[in-house]
C-alpha cells in the first residue's frame, strides 16, 4: 500500500512543488544576543522562501545558527536573545484562500492559536522529553485537547496518526521507555501532525539515531508530505540526509544564508565556495579511492565574525572586495558560466551570497 505507486506519487509531488505558492517567506531575519561586550549577532540576515507541500532543508555546520534561525521564525527566542529586524510572512489559511501574516507581529494569543494548528515544531532531542509516566496515546491526545480538539475526537484520531508514521495502533498503550529511539521520534512526529498543520519544522530529527532507524524516520517524513501535503523544514548538519529527502535547501555559514537552490543544483553545481568545499568533503561509498580535500581553517564564532564576507579567511578564491563588503544573497541568472576556473550550470531559483557572482572585479577574475 505504501510502496505501490509511492515512487510515482513522489515525483508528482516534486513536480507540483515547482508551481506552488509560497507558504513561509523569511525576510532578513536577525537574532542577536545581548551581552556586556555588545550584541552577539548569531543570526545576521537570512532570507528564504518555503513553498507549500515542500520538503525544505536547512543545512550548515554546528554553530552556524540554523537552530537559532528556526527558533527565531517560531518566536521562541528568550532574553537575552532578541530579534532586531526581520519579517516572517506566513500564508494563514482562511475561508476562500489565505492571507499573509507577519509572525513577528502577532500577539502571544494569536501565536498560540497558530501553533500546532498551522505550524508545528519538533525540537532537537524532543524524543527525550516525552512524559515518562504517561502512555504515548494519552500524550498525543493531550496535545490535541490543549489546542481545542474534543477529547473523543482526539482519541479516535490516534490510531490513524500512528499508522501515518508506520507505528501499530497498539503502541498507544505503551510508555515511552518501552519504545526505541526511532519509535519515540516517530510518535513525536505523529503528535506534530495531529491537527494537520501546513508546516512542520523538525530540528535534527535523526541525530542520535542509528542509521537504519534514521532511514525509517526520514522516509516517514517524506510519506507525510505525500499523504497530508504538509510542508516540512528539516534542519540538519548532515548533508546526505538532505540529499535523500528534500526538494530545495538553504546552506548557512556564520549566521547567514549563503546559498539556496534545488537539492540537485546544490549537490551537482554548488555556487558558493563553502558549499563546494562541503559537498566535496563527503565520503561516498563506492566512490573512487582518493583523498578528499576538506575545508582548511576553523569556523568562526559569533564572538568574532570576520569582516566583509565571513568565509573569506578560508576561501581559496578570496578577493579584496570580500574583505571589505558583505555579499548579498542574490538570485543568479540560470545557464552555464565559468566561475574561478570552474564550469558551472546555474539552475533556475539558485541564489548565493558571493562576490564571485555579483561583483565586477569577479568578472575579470572569472575571465568573463
Amino acid at each position: 500500500m505504501l510502496e505501490a505507486g509511492a515512487a510515482i506519487v513522489a515525483s508528482q509531488a516534486r513536480q507540483d512543488a515547482e508551481d506552488r505558492a509560497p507558504l513561509l517567506q523569511v525576510e532578513d531575519l536577525r537574532v542577536h544576543y545581548a551581552s556586556t561586550a555588545g550584541p552577539y549577532r548569531v543570526v545576521d540576515g537570512s532570507t528564504m522562501t518555503i513553498n507549500r507541500h515542500e520538503l525544505f532543508g536547512l543545512a550548515g555546520e554546528s554553530g552556524c545558527g540554523k537552530s537559532t534561525l528556526v527558533e527565531g521564525i517560531l518566536r521562541l527566542i528568550k532574553p537575552p536573545g532578541y530579534v532586531p529586524t526581520g519579517r516572517v510572512l506566513f500564508s494563514l489559511p482562511e475561508a476562500g484562500g489565505s492571507r499573509p501574516v507577519d509572525l513577528m507581529r502577532l500577539s502571544s494569543k494569536q501565536l498560540r492559536a497558530l501553533r500546532w494548528r498551522h505550524i508545528s515544531y519538533v525540537p532537537q532531542g524532543s524524543m527525550n522529553s516525552l512524559n515518562p509516566v504517561m502512555r504515548i496515546g494519552d500524550q498525543i491526545i493531550d496535545g490535541m485537547v490543549t489546542h481545542g480538539v474534543r477529547a473523543e475526537a482526539a482519541r479516535q484520531r490516534v490510531p490513524e496518526l500512528l499508522e501515518l508514521v508506520g507505528l501499530g495502533p497498539e503502541l498507544a498503550h505503551l510508555f515511552p521507555h518501552e519504545l526505541s529511539g526511532g519509535m519515540k521520534q516517530r510518535a513525536i512526529i505523529a503528535a506534530a501532525v495531529a491537527l494537520n498543520p501546513q508546516l512542520v519544522v523538525a530540528d535534527e530529527p535523526t541525530t542520535a539515531l542509528d542509521v537504519n532507524v534514521q532511514r525509517v524516520v526520514l522516509q516517514t517524513l517524506a510519506h507525510l508530505r505525500r499523504a497530508l501535503g504538509v510542508a516540512i523544514i528539516i534542519v540538519s548538519h548532515d548533508l546526505p540526509v538532505h540529499a535523500q529527502l528534500v526538494d530545495r535547501m538553504a546552506i548557512m555559514y556564520a549566521g547567514r544564508v549563503i546559498e539556496i537552490g534545488s537539492v540537485e543544483a546544490v549537490f551537482q553545481s554548488p555556487l558558493h565556495p563553502y558549499t563546494r568545499g562541503l559537498v566535496a568533503s563527503i565520503p561516498r561509498i563506492g566512490g573512487p579511492r582518493e583523498r578528499l580535500p576538506g575545508i582548511p581553517g576553523v569556523a568562526p564564532s559569533p564572538l568574532s565574525w570576520p569582516s566583509g564576507c565571513r568565509f573569506h579567511p578560508r576561501c581559496p578564491y578570496a578577493m579584496e572586495v570580500c574583505r571589505r563588503a558583505e555579499p548579498v544573497l542574490t538570485e543568479i541568472s540560470p545557464g552555464p558560466r565559468v566561475v574561478a576556473g570552474h564550469p558551472l550550470t546555474v539552475s533556475p531559483g539558485q541564489s548565493t551570497a558571493c562576490h564571485l557572482f555579483t561583483s565586477s572585479s569577479a568578472e575579470r577574475a572569472n575571465g568573463g
Binding site: D210, V211, R215, A243, F267, I285, P296
Partner: protein, 334 residues
C-alpha cells in the same frame, strides 16, 4: 615461514555484565570476538555497528580500562593483565586512544599544553625543555595545527575539531603502534572529519601506525579503506576488506546497514528503491531481541530467516572474499 606474534590481539573476547550474587540479569555486551593487529603491515580496521553492539566495550578492553570476562587481550603475545610494570608502561605507550568526546577529554582546569607535558614527562621522552618543545611542535605540525594558535589556550577556547586533532598529536608524540579511536569524528563537522581521517591515513602510510576505527557511519569506514568488522549485539557477524564487504555484503544485517546509509546524491534516492526491512516488520520488533545464546540474534528482523536460525548460533563462515556469520552461507563456506 613462521607467523610473527601479533602486536595487539583480542582473543575470543567476551564481556558479560551482571550475573553476580546480587544481580540475576546478565547482559552479554561482547560475545566471542577475535581480531589482531600486526606490526607489519599496518592496517586500518573499521569496527561498525549500532549503539549497544559492544564496540566501545571492546575498545575499553583493548586499552586496559576494562577486563574481559572471557578470553584475553594480548600485547606482543602477553596477557595485558600479567605485564610487569615496565612492560605495562611500554604497552601504554604503544597503544593509544582517541575518544569520542572532544570536550570531556581535557581537564578544564589546565591549558591544553598539559596533555603533551604529562605524556612527555610520564614516558620520559625528552631530557630538556627545549627538546620537549621540539617534540610538541613536531606533533602539532603532523596534524596541521599551528603552535601559536593552539598552545597556551584553555580547552574551551578551541573548537571541537582542534581539540580532537590535539589528541591525535598527543598520540603521534608517543609514537604508538596502534591507535584505538572510538567514534572520534561523530561529534565533529563534515569538513573537519575529512581532515581527521586524512591524518589517520597519513599515520598509516608514513609512520606505520595501525588504527582500530570505531564508527556507526559506513561512509567513513569506506573512506578509510582497509578492513571492516561488523558488530551486532556483541557478535562479529561479518569481516573482510572494506571493498569486498561493501560491494557484496554477505550478511543480511550488513545489507540492511548499507541500504540505510543516505547517499549524498539526490539522483539516487531511497524512494526510488524498495523500503528497507524494518518498515515492513511490525513496529514492536524494532526493540532488540532478548539475548539467546543458541540462535542468530538477527533472526527476528531478517527477511531470509530459516528454522535453523533460531536453533543454532551461526559461526563465522569463511567465504571467498569475507567471513559472515549467517546460515545462508553454511553450504558455500570453505
Amino acid at each position: 615461514m613462521a607467523v610473527s606474534t601479533p602486536l595487539l590481539e583480542l582473543q575470543n573476547g567476551s564481556v558479560v555484565f551482571g550475573g553476580g550474587a546480587l544481580s540475576r540479569i546478565t547482559t552479554v555486551a561482547v560475545d566471542n570476538v577475535s581480531f589482531q593487529f600486526h606490526e607489519q603491515p599496518p592496517r586500518i580496521l573499521s569496527m561498525v555497528g549500532e549503539s549497544g553492539s559492544g564496540k566501545t566495550t571492546i575498545a575499553r578492553c583493548l586499552l586496559g580500562l576494562a577486563e574481559p570476562t572471557g578470553g584475553r587481550v594480548l600485547w606482543r603475545g602477553k596477557d595485558i593483565c600479567r605485564l610487569s610494570s615496565d612492560e605495562f608502561r611500554t604497552y601504554r605507550r604503544e597503544v593509544q586512544a582517541v575518544f569520542q568526546d572532544p570536550y570531556g577529554i581535557y581537564n578544564p582546569y589546565y591549558r591544553v599544553d598539559r596533555v603533551f607535558d604529562v605524556a612527555i614527562r610520564k614516558f620520559g621522552l625528552a631530557s630538556s625543555p627545549a627538546k620537549s618543545r621540539e617534540l610538541v611542535f613536531d606533533a602539532l605540525r603532523a596534524v596541521d595545527l599551528r603552535p601559536d594558535d593552539t598552545l597556551g589556550r584553555y580547552p574551551h577556547q578551541l573548537s571541537g575539531g582542534e581539540r580532537q586533532r590535539i589528541m591525535l598529536a598527543r598520540a603521534y608524540l608517543l609514537r604508538p603502534k596502534v591507535i584505538i579511536a572510538d567514534e572520534p569524528i561523530s561529534m565533529l563537522d563534515a569538513a573537519v572529519r575529512t581532515l581527521f581521517m586524512n591524518i589517520l591515513l597519513d599515520f598509516k602510510e608514513q609512520y606505520g601506525v595501525s588504527t582500530l576505527f570505531i564508527t556507526h557511519d559506513l561512509s567513513t569506514a569506506y573512506y578509510l579503506g582497509g578492513d571492516i568488522l561488523v558488530m551486532e549485539h556483541g557478535r562479529a557477524i561479518e569481516a573482510g576488506s572494506v571493498d569486498s564487504v561493501m560491494d557484496h555484503p554477505a550478511h543480511p544485517y550488513t545489507q540492511l546497514l548499507l541500504q540505510s546509509v543516505p547517499r549524498p546524491d539526490p539522483r539516487q534516492r531511497w524512494e526510488d528503491a524498495p523500503p528497507p526491512i524494518t518498515w515492513r516488520r511490525p513496529a514492536t520488533v524494532e526493540r532488540p531481541a532478548p539475548q539467546r545464546r543458541n540462535s542468530c540474534l538477527f533472526a527476528d528482523r531478517c527477511p531470509y530467516v530459516m528454522e535453523v536460525c533460531r536453533q543454532a548460533r551461526p559461526r563465522l563462515f569463511r567465504l571467498a572474499d569475507q567471513q559472515a556469520a549467517c546460515h545462508l552461507h553454511a553450504e558455500t563456506a570453505v
